[in-house]
Every structure is written in structure tokens, then in C-alpha cells.
């Protein structure tokens, strides 16, 4: 058996999540939209089953902030609504109203967030041109991502 590479995170992204992100990004344009990724960890893989939007009332064309209170309420509601026993918080997403990848700030924020979790967190950046840029961090360290779509 091949030992899993500790620095590679497999990310499986469900089309429901992609669709939700795409729709929210289009609706918010020219401002950024953002929210939480919901899913679970399966061995060395992170499954992104769904995405939810968390409105940042102060979002601009270059900034979206995850506020703890709003985000926790959105997570609780989503978990209750979806009724899926494996769903929980596994990372963040936001949109870029331009065709650029994750910024320095973006990569730093997901690394900081990952410090509080035993498993890796995922960051999805939805670019204006429809491309998604995917990052992951574990215990504060950036990870190499191998992504698949379903």
C-alpha cells in the first residue's frame, strides 16, 4: 500500500457547491461574495459537498470578511436544513470580481483558520472568468492540492 503523501490534500468538489458559488458570485458582482464550504473528511480527502453564502454587509470589490457570529449562525442553519449527518465546516470560499487567483492575504487567512482544526481546511476562490482556484492548509501550513470534480 502506498503511504499517503502528508503534504498533498485531495479535494473532491461536488457540482452543487460549484453551482452555489457561481450563482452567488454573479449576483454579488461587482462586489465580492463569500461563505462557507460544507462537507467532511474521508481518509486523506476533503469532500466539498455544498457551499453556503454568508453575506458580509461591508463587502467591497476587493474584500470579503468571515464574521464569526454571522458565519456560525449560517452554519447552524445550513446543517439543520440539509439534514446530512456528515456535513460541517471544512473551509471558506469567496469570489474575485477580476480574473485573479488567491491573494497573499487569502492564503494567509486560510492558514490561520486551519490552526484550530485537526484536519485540513480548503479555500476556494471563484474568479470572474469562471475558473476556481483551490488551496488547502493544515495546522497553519499550506498544502499541495489535488482536486477532482463530481
Amino acid at each position: 500500500m502506498r503511504a499517503p503523501n502528508p503534504d498533498v490534500v485531495r479535494v473532491l468538489i461536488h457540482s452543487d457547491a460549484r453551482q452555489t458559488i457561481k450563482t452567488a458570485a454573479a449576483r454579488a458582482f461587482p462586489l465580492e461574495a463569500g461563505g462557507l464550504l460544507l462537507g467532511w473528511w474521508d481518509n486523506d480527502m476533503v469532500v466539498v459537498r455544498a457551499a453556503i453564502e454568508v453575506v458580509d454587509p461591508a463587502a467591497t470589490g476587493t474584500s470579503w470578511i468571515r464574521h464569526e457570529g454571522l458565519a456560525q449562525r449560517a452554519l447552524d442553519q445550513a446543517v439543520a436544513k440539509f439534514g446530512h449527518p456528515w456535513l460541517g465546516y471544512i473551509g471558506d470560499w469567496h469570489s474575485h470580481p477580476a480574473a485573479c487567483d488567491a491573494s497573499q492575504q487569502d492564503r494567509q487567512s486560510i492558514r490561520i483558520a486551519s490552526l484550530a482544526y485537526a484536519q485540513p481546511l480548503v479555500l476556494i476562490v471563484h474568479r470572474r472568468d469562471g475558473i476556481i482556484d483551490i488551496h488547502a492548509a493544515r495546522h497553519g501550513r499550506p498544502q499541495t492540492v489535488s482536486a477532482e470534480s463530481i
Partner: protein
């Protein structure tokens, strides 16, 4: 009780006619362009619009035909539909050689690459409404009949505003998704007739009768399906009221035997939905899968309702130690993304 919200969303996206929608849009645009470039049709005030399930955004995969309603806003009482249909067919034949069929009351254009056809229906104004030829005689004259093809679109839009999944969230309209699920159930449970529009109208009446206010797709579908099953029993005798024209009923090709068979099948389907609603998660999913069947007319038939990741196909829960549930708390403080 299992409402399986995530999986209903996936089921809905599995019947969404995404590729078809682009092809249908393109085909409609091509046909419109040709008709709007013809001198005679311009003189008659040609003004085509999309109608049909595709136009109302309640179509499901696969969309095989697109209806275009060609309003001739300046057409007078003396318009001979036989002659004008011949003309429309000739104009289209020039741009789509070998792909045009003059039908009894319409002209059909084939788009073989997309496995799609566009049906062109002509209409003339009559007071504040439109008329289409009902029967065209040998001399090219016709009996005209009132029609209101845009009315169903208006009713659909309104119903989708009135019935919400989440109170206060105008984006959670549940009427359109329900019509799509009902159309899919018809394809799965009913042989050919009555058709998709007939069931759409049944769904419309079911919503009007019940004024349902539920909190999940599962519950909406269950109550609406039961009401449709009940309505079907009466429809066999009394016909189905046309919500777009007072005092008229919906025409169907279904024979009384086919209507009776459909009523029996939908009664079965409604009973299955009730059982699914009352079952535990995984067993419920298996029943929803049976109810919604597979996608039709697609290259590979796919199950519409997904098997939840935590379920086995026999309705038992997976015993897995490999899975760690997503976190129940978000990170403390705030996280800034630029």
C-alpha cells in the same frame, strides 16, 4: 422523517436542461432572425416569442422541442393561415434546406445536431387576445381559436413567488422546482399520455387548491402529488380546467383508458412518496430514487435522485470509520479575504 434537502437539490440539478437550454436558445434565435428578415412577415408585424415549457423554464432534460409563437400583430381578419404557413415554410426552407416540415397547423424545423426541433405557430390579434388556426381547410381558410400562451408563464412566475421553501427568502420559490419534479415523475410512471403540460396544469391546480406552506421539497412533493392523484380521478369525467382561459378545459390526446391508468399509477407514486417521507434517511432515499426514476432520452440513463454518501443501496446506513464529520464550529474571530 427524512427530507434530504441536499439530495433533492442534486436531483433537481440532474434534471436541469443545461446544455439543451443553450441549444434551444440558439435555435430560437436563428429561426427568429430568418422570420424577421422577410418583407411580407415584417408587413404583418412579425414578433416571435418563446412559449412552451422551455419558455416557462419548467422544462427538464432532455428538451426535444421548442415552441415559437409568431405573433403577426398587423394581420387582419382576412389572413389565410394556410397561405401564410406555406409562406413561412418557404422562407424557412431557404435558410434551413431539407430541415423544414409543413405540419397541419405549424411549421417544424429540425436541428439534428442538437437532437432538437423548433415548432413555429402563427397567431393573429383579436381584440386584446391572440388567436391561432384551429383547423385549416383545403382552401387555406381556417377556423381560429383563442389562445393565451403567455398567460401560463405569468401564472408560473406568480406561483413561484407565492410558494416559498423558506419564508422571507424570495429566491426559494418552490413552484417551479415542483413542476419539474412532477414532470419527471410523469415520465417515469405514466405511459406517454397524458403529457407533460397536462401534468403541469394539474400541479398548478394542486397548488391553488392546497395553498401548501411546507418547509422541505420532500413535504411539498408529497402533498402535491397526493392532490394530483385525487384530481386525476375527477378529471377523467369532468376534464381539466384551463387556468389561462375561463370556462375552457385542457385538450389532451389521452384516451379515457390512459387517463384511468395514469390515475392509478400516480396514486401508487403518491403512496410511495408518503412512505418515503415517513421512512428513515437511507430507506427514504431508496424510495425517492424509485419515485423519480432515471433521466429520459439521455445517452446514458442516470438516476435522478442520488444515493446519499452515507447510505448503502439497500437502504441501510454505511458503517464507516474513515469519515470525519465537518466541523460544527466556524473559526473564532473574523477572517479577511481580499
Amino acid at each position: 422523517m427524512a427530507t434530504l434537502a441536499t439530495h433533492f437539490k442534486t436531483a433537481l440539478s440532474n434534471i436541469e436542461p443545461s446544455d439543451d437550454a443553450e441549444n434551444a436558445q440558439a435555435a430560437h434565435a436563428e429561426v427568429t432572425k430568418v422570420l424577421e428578415a422577410d418583407d411580407l412577415l415584417v408587413k404583418l408585424g412579425v414578433d416571435p416569442i418563446l412559449i412552451g415549457s422551455y419558455g416557462r423554464q419548467v422544462s427538464i432534460r432532455r428538451v426535444k422541442d421548442v415552441d415559437v409563437f409568431v405573433r403577426l400583430s398587423k394581420a387582419g381578419k382576412d389572413l389565410r393561415p394556410g397561405r401564410i404557413l406555406d409562406h413561412v415554410a418557404a422562407v424557412l426552407e431557404e435558410s434551413f434546406p431539407g430541415r423544414v416540415t409543413r405540419q397541419h397547423r405549424s411549421v417544424m424545423i429540425d436541428f439534428p445536431d442538437d437532437d432538437l426541433s423548433v415548432d413555429v405557430v402563427i397567431a393573429r390579434p383579436c381584440g386584446d387576445h391572440w388567436e391561432i388556426p384551429q383547423k385549416i381547410e383545403d382552401d387555406g381558410n381556417a377556423r381560429w381559436v383563442e389562445t393565451n400562451p403567455t398567460k401560463m408563464a405569468e401564472l408560473t412566475t406568480q406561483a413561484n413567488k407565492d410558494y416559498l421553501l423558506y419564508d422571507g427568502d424570495p429566491g426559494s420559490g418552490v413552484y417551479v422546482p415542483m413542476v419539474k419534479l412532477i414532470r419527471q415523475i410523469r415520465r417515469t410512471w405514466v405511459d406517454d399520455q397524458p403529457g407533460g403540460y397536462f401534468f403541469e396544469v394539474l400541479a398548478y391546480h394542486a397548488f391553488s387548491n392546497l395553498e401548501p406552506n411546507e418547509t422541505s421539497y420532500a413535504k411539498y412533493l408529497t402533498v402535491v402529488l397526493r392532490e394530483i392523484a385525487d384530481l386525476l380521478i375527477d378529471v377523467a369525467d369532468e376534464g381539466l380546467d384551463d387556468p389561462t382561459l375561463d370556462g375552457k378545459t385542457i385538450k389532451t390526446k389521452a384516451t379515457p383508458e390512459q387517463l384511468a391508468a395514469a390515475a392509478a399509477r400516480i396514486d401508487e407514486a403518491a403512496t410511495l412518496a408518503e412512505a418515503a417521507l415517513g421512512a428513515n434517511d437511507c430507506l427514504a432515499a431508496v424510495k425517492w430514487r424509485e419515485l423519480l426514476g432515471t433521466t429520459k432520452n439521455t445517452t446514458t440513463e442516470e438516476q435522478v435522485f442520488p444515493l446519499p454518501e452515507y447510505c448503502n443501496a439497500d437502504g441501510t446506513k454505511k458503517k464507516t470509520t474513515a469519515v470525519t464529520q465537518g466541523a460544527s464550529t466556524v473559526p473564532a474571530g473574523s477572517g479577511r479575504y481580499a
